[in-house]
Symmetry: D2
Subunit: 305 residues, 4 copies
């Protein structure tokens, strides 16, 4: 088995991949962008790929959401949560006093602003394309900075010295990663599942989102994430990327999906998979599979007189 | 075939029965009360019964709504609309100037108040148990009134003279009657059908009715009548008697009924039958049978990967 | 002070009147119909009137609901709950074995059916215009019945003997009565108040009722009674008679009433008054008067920049 | 007057600034990041700042949304739409055949993929921190690329030759920019206004978003943009960034804002301002200012009896 991931080595994404079950027998393939990683799944050059989808500080990862929303169908088959911790790393022998410039990705820089203001208020920020790239730069001779803000694994990968650990402003920051594959056999329901979809509205009338949410409410289903993404057609035209509790094999989820399919211009199904946090779904009264089965039998009786 | 009806002869209910298709081959059985008429259907002493269910001036007929809501299941199989016109009837030879008292049922009296105020302002009202009974009384010798407000058919049945026609304040008054039978073969869908149910809420929480109405809204179904009726348990405990557009065999109606069944303590199905006014249901986009069939095929594909 | 009531003496309505505070100084005026009683308030011949509005077994009292919905404005200023208990009453010396016919109002008869089936299965039912009238008949010589089903107070008023007490099928039956006056000073808010309105929809579009209910939901207000009543224009045209928790002086009630006024063709206000059961309203978070005041101050700040 | 903008010179943001009324008398101050530009408004070093807020292809600009959602209050006072057109620019004398590498920002690169695949399929992509930086690089000697994908204005600013115009895959791409100031006098209502807010839910219960949307629906208000953004507390905790039609001085907008304020943990008001597209708001029946004024007068009458 070959799994792609949004690389290079030393990123939080690789850390997510390493937490997957059975990963010891999997060949790991770093891929330069989320789009390319998902394209590699589509064209069969890898069996699946790990990409970030949501960060507790930065929000949904647009590149992932958009790449899943268009092109050939893909489905999420697993999710992994990785706590995000930043270190300040430098070449061996460097001290805090030596540091005049600090390299990192803008998102990471935004998340360590308080620590920097308190400890290195004079340091200049040097933007880099990723935190791993900032660390890699220090392995070469010539950089405009003396330290990098990066993941612990990146510091280690490039033989850097860690000057300070866990310097993020938000200690509980976490990123959600997903393993994405071509459609095929779905993961079995576990009772603690999520389902992901993208909904395209039939038209952009006022109250349209309210109507979509009522399809969920009528079957007692909780949303865990809702993000609007532009469809690209025009300003103000959005689709909705939604995660909700339950598995496509659940009756209440099936009926909700059919309801959405009927009222939307398009519904893209992005998979049903076990929640990384293992939280068991609280099924509301009247929405268990047995309630649906009983109601169907009753209706059949009515129709037969 | 024997059809019961809320009698005596000469009521608007008998007029409704006479408008049913095939009535020439039917034996007509007057029955003294709505409850008794429906009980006669249940115990098999008649094949079906005609009862009033809704009047455009007086509203739902409580006796009918309540008798349908409890006891063994019955279903509506036909509906008939009868314009309600009142006449002033008296013994032959009577003139307006002779009239000092007028007999009628209180509901009927309420509907001719303007005419009476203008033409017989001095007349005394004598309450009677039905408009037909008021007319029948004039056939005997000894009444406390010289004229009756009744249906044209009742005046005719008792050989009375009509002193004034169509004296109702509301010229467009109409009553809806239904033919009720034991459950059996349902009337075929015609595209212009109604379905009747009684909904008993699982508990009496605020917003409960809103939730029930959302089950209809989620499948694009219009209500044509909603009445609350006490369940008799306690003040403020109500069930809802509802008519809506569509036939139980329609996919959208079936899913709505199943949804109601899941969230209600009880749902009593009172039949699907052609509308008397023949108004064809406007089916909203995404709620045709073909939309449901397509959505179900799509869901099956998702579940199979 | 003169209070009218739906009489004659000996009815449950008079019992309700006798429970009003300060009734010892009030002149009691029996009036033959609900409509006439309310008309007497309008024309000033009485200061207020007591009428039944809702029964736990029979539901809303149409005559009262309709008479309040049209004509000059009236408001409810007090409500009284009266447990409904029926007795079997007869002339002194009568025994159960003597009884071949029983007189009563049809509604009362419907509520004692079980007792009659068990104890007097052979008795013939004789319909009367009220339970008090049935009792009064026994005071005369010539009746087609030997016993009456009536209120205890009616048996007492006519010197009848009570053969059986509390013979109703539903021992917890209760009727709600209201004291109705011309608009004037409103009863003070008590924290356990109700408000009554009649809503006329602007047009009869599908989902119209849902929209009205959302006006209540958006301000966290619970309904305690909802009944549809025909407007009389045409079959299927209804207005809604609604009671809800709170007093017109409450901010959340005021904003709800204004919202209804804006979206309805008409809103008829029928008063705010203390609940007879004294149940204190549970005000939801964010809907206390102080929440409204704070929000208004905040908005004023925004508008002033 | 000094206006900051997300610079350097030559960006689409500067183009937006140049379209503001009265810009000829304004000093333009390029600022390296959105956060810094808004901070400069807060600390008074500029009077206002222009920042991008929404792109028809890429969606909401997270940096702007987040910087407006926290810190001292700021308000939007103007909006500008700028069509996004990309050119391929190079040093004078370069031809398509000379190009082996192309520099640009990843977002821009994503928007010209089709053109590149058709005309320069062999070119290597070199990521840069902005499109303007890619153009600026070509002004120096030593770059890893021979051409840049950038705005026409950037090519011009750096004396580059345009090899191809309007090479974006989506010809109707447009970005919305806003002029942000400290709270003060609000722009006057024009009848074609928008209002922006950030809503923080009181708790994260299921159906919470539905309740917020119902506050808008109850006053007939249309949303034009809804985006969820993480609050940063935990995965799955979101606030909602919303634009809707109308001005805070409109009665219906005022009541909606108060309703949101009452049910939300916090509401951040981000201003009311004229729509760039000039689209006049269609006010629904019953939600004009005069409807509110009439309803308020009516309520006052009820309260005074």
């Amino acid at each position: 088995m070959r799994y792609g991931y949004f690389g290079p080595a030393g990123t939080f994404t690789e850390m997510a991949l390493l937490r997957l079950p059975g990963v010891e027998d999997v060949e790991r393939v770093p891929i330069a962008s989320v789009e390319a990683a998902l394209e590699a799944v589509r064209d069969g050059s890898v069996d699946a790929a790990v990409v970030p989808i949501e960060n507790s500080v930065e929000g949904g990862v647009s590149a992932t959401l958009d790449a899943l929303s268009s092109g050939a169908d893909l489905v999420v088959v697993h999710e992994v949560l990785v706590p995000i911790t930043f270190v300040l790393a430098a070449r061996a022998g460097t001290t805090l006093a030596d540091i005049r410039g600090v390299g990192s990705h803008p998102h990471a820089w935004a998340q360590v602003r308080h620590w920097m203001g308190a400890r290195l208020p004079e340091a200049t920020y040097v933007p880099c394309l990723s935190t791993a790239a900032a660390a890699a730069g220090l392995a070469g001779d010539d950089t405009a900075y003396e330290a990098a803000v990066c993941a612990p694994v990146a510091a280690q990968a490039h033989g850097l010295q860690v000057l300070a650990e866990d310097i993020g402003d938000n200690r509980s920051a976490v990123t959600r990663f997903v393993l994405v594959a071509r459609p095929g056999r779905l993961p079995e329901p576990t009772g603690a599942d999520k389902t992901s979809v993208v909904l395209f509205q039939a038209d952009d009338h006022p109250g349209g989102l309210l109507e979509l949410l009522e399809q969920f409410a009528a079957r007692g289903i909780n949303l865990t994430r809702l993000e609007s993404r532009p469809t690209g057609d025009a300003l103000g035209r959005y689709c909705f990327s939604i995660d909700f509790e339950g598995h496509v094999n659940d009756e209440r989820v099936g009926e909700t999906l059919m309801g959405l399919r009927r009222v939307c211009a398009d519904v893209r199904f992005l998979g049903s998979y076990p929640r990384a946090d293992g939280a068991v779904v609280e099924v509301r009264p009247g929405t268990r599979d047995t309630d649906f089965t009983a109601a169907r039998a009753w209706l059949r009786g009515l129709r037969n007189g």
